[in-house]
Symmetry: C2
């Protein structure tokens, strides 16, 4: 069944603008929720600090959209040395009123382990807008100080960092490179590309996530792009003429997932933004629920059977259960 907008009396802009309005409300809601739950998270932090392995047990119960990225070798490190995990909305902490509630910093603390020197790994994701219509989470590669021969990403993460620094040195150019594949890859980019081609993306380590970039958009560019977009919206609302930068098709493509962007051929963790959201919107708020789940699994044979049965019968539902619906089943 096919019904493109051309056949209708509604323009793509009308729909996109309304979607934006929904989006703005959604963002305000996250802002309020963060303020309302702050004391509860503090209380939780205090409680769980008394529970050995709290975060390891939570991570063991992680929903599919997190679990699928944790390879056995990653799991070995996490289960043996993860000390704590935390998520903060950094822009709200900086400016409760003006900060974007969707920007998050995800922090892992580790005990001494055989793979890397770092006691803390923190990955920061900023919600950014770009003039080409992109809006989403962008980040910078986080280096991990691997112990000799223990790099779980087999050098991928290091290469990404090297390429990023190279590109960041000339952001404007980098931005252009993205959209047109005309330009030659640099030596570093070539090396990364080859490395990626020789690594099955399926088998890539969870720790490669720390190399996620998304798009090269600075805070300034983002601010300008957002202002421009808001202004166009205002004009459309006021019925004024808005000069189209490009045709709708492109605009719509830009709305799509990172996976669709040209530059993904150099993105070692294309779904890194989605994984960040799974941590921030699901594992973090529902951690108590996952922990209690872990307890239940120990409790009785019957429970165990049930869980097994569920795993067979309706995996999807189990995941959905976990997926950001903390309001469910809490008596």
């Amino acid at each position: 069944m096919d019904a493109t907008l051309e056949e209708t009396l509604v323009s793509y802009e009308e729909l996109a603008d309304l979607e934006q309005e929904f989006d703005d409300v959604e963002t305000e809601i996250i802002r309020q929720q963060y303020a309302l739950t702050k004391p509860l998270y503090a209380k939780r932090a205090e409680l769980v600090s008394k529970i050995p392995n709290f975060w390891r047990l939570v991570l063991e119960q992680a929903p599919m959209d997190i679990d699928e990225y944790i390879q056995p070798s990653d799991s070995a490190v996490l289960m043996s040395s993860l000390k704590s995990l935390s998520v903060r909305r950094l822009e709200l902490d900086a400016d409760e009123k003006k900060g974007d509630p969707r920007s998050v910093a995800i922090r892992f603390e580790f005990d001494e382990n055989e793979h890397f020197e770092d006691a803390v790994l923190e990955k920061t994701f900023w919600w950014r807008y770009s003039k080409d219509g992109f809006a989403g989470l962008v980040s910078e590669p986080v280096e991990i100080r691997w112990k000799k021969g223990k790099d779980l990403t087999d050098g991928l993460l290091g290469l990404v960092k090297a390429v990023y620094d190279e590109q960041a040195a000339k952001p404007k150019q980098a931005a252009k490179d993205k959209k047109s594949n005309k330009v030659e890859l640099t030596a570093k980019q070539k090396a990364l590309k080859e490395k990626m081609e020789n690594t099955g993306m399926g088998g890539v380590s969870f720790f490669a996530w720390f190399g996620y970039i998304g798009e090269y958009v600075t805070a300034e560019e983002s601010k300008a792009a957002l202002a421009e977009e808001r202004e166009e919206r205002r004009k459309r609302k006021a019925g004024e003429e808005v000069a189209k930068k490009k045709d709708e098709d492109e605009e719509m493509e830009d709305d799509e997932d990172d996976e669709d962007d040209d530059d993904d051929d150099l993105e070692i963790f294309p779904t890194g933004d989605q994984l960040a959201m799974a941590f921030a919107d699901d594992l973090w708020p529902a951690a108590l629920k996952y922990f209690i789940q872990a307890q239940e699994e120990d409790l009785s044979e019957i429970d165990q059977d049930m869980d097994d049965w569920e795993d067979d019968e309706d995996d999807e539902d189990d995941e959905e259960e976990g997926a950001g619906r903390p309001q469910k089943k809490r008596a």
Copy 2:
């Protein structure tokens, strides 16, 4: 790795009470969100009324946790005769302050079709608490006036309704029957059980969802159970002694999915509450996004290839994309 609460200084009640507090905030947030988005939904309804097949196209893009329940024969009916779909928070419409924001009514409007007489099918889910610790969405079977030989549930839905009316006639007894399998099944229950055993649950029609019950809990029982639970919480908070109705293990089991309840052997759609939430928390708020997705799929070969690639490479993420994250990618 095993770490039960016994080893720690934290009691199960402390965690459960805190989880409840998170839950209360979550519920308030839904209440605020409903108020804030009401005008936007009105605007959306007006816009989409001008778009032919809007809801059919949205449903075509439905995330896995809805799509998996729609059999080809269901899809044929929906795609040919679904006129509109809507979700309302009925308790908020009745009482914005006191109503439970988690109760939802999901309404489908149909054109004339070959399977049933009904122009409207509406399924209502109430958020209820029971003394045994259950909290979740309960519902009543909705009858469908099937045309001769066109019952997509092959009689299942009718049997469920018959059993429900029988049980509802003696709610107290029914409630007891639930928890103890001592009592004999009635003739109708036997018939239903047989019918279910002869129907692979996998192949059950989407329309069997209209038979979802969950638990037999009246509004009065729910009110009483909630009041009792709140009082116990208050006491625990005040450090007073609380008489345990049962040991923690049971309590924890009660926290689990419907799938774990004794009475599921007579529930024709055990995950009916989750499907309701998928409609209310995902398809409904993100409908514009799904519609635009549908447009994009028509747009260009490139897009099409991309989508295919995604389907192969990271299904999970595609679903997560859809799963209640309307705040994502909206520039």
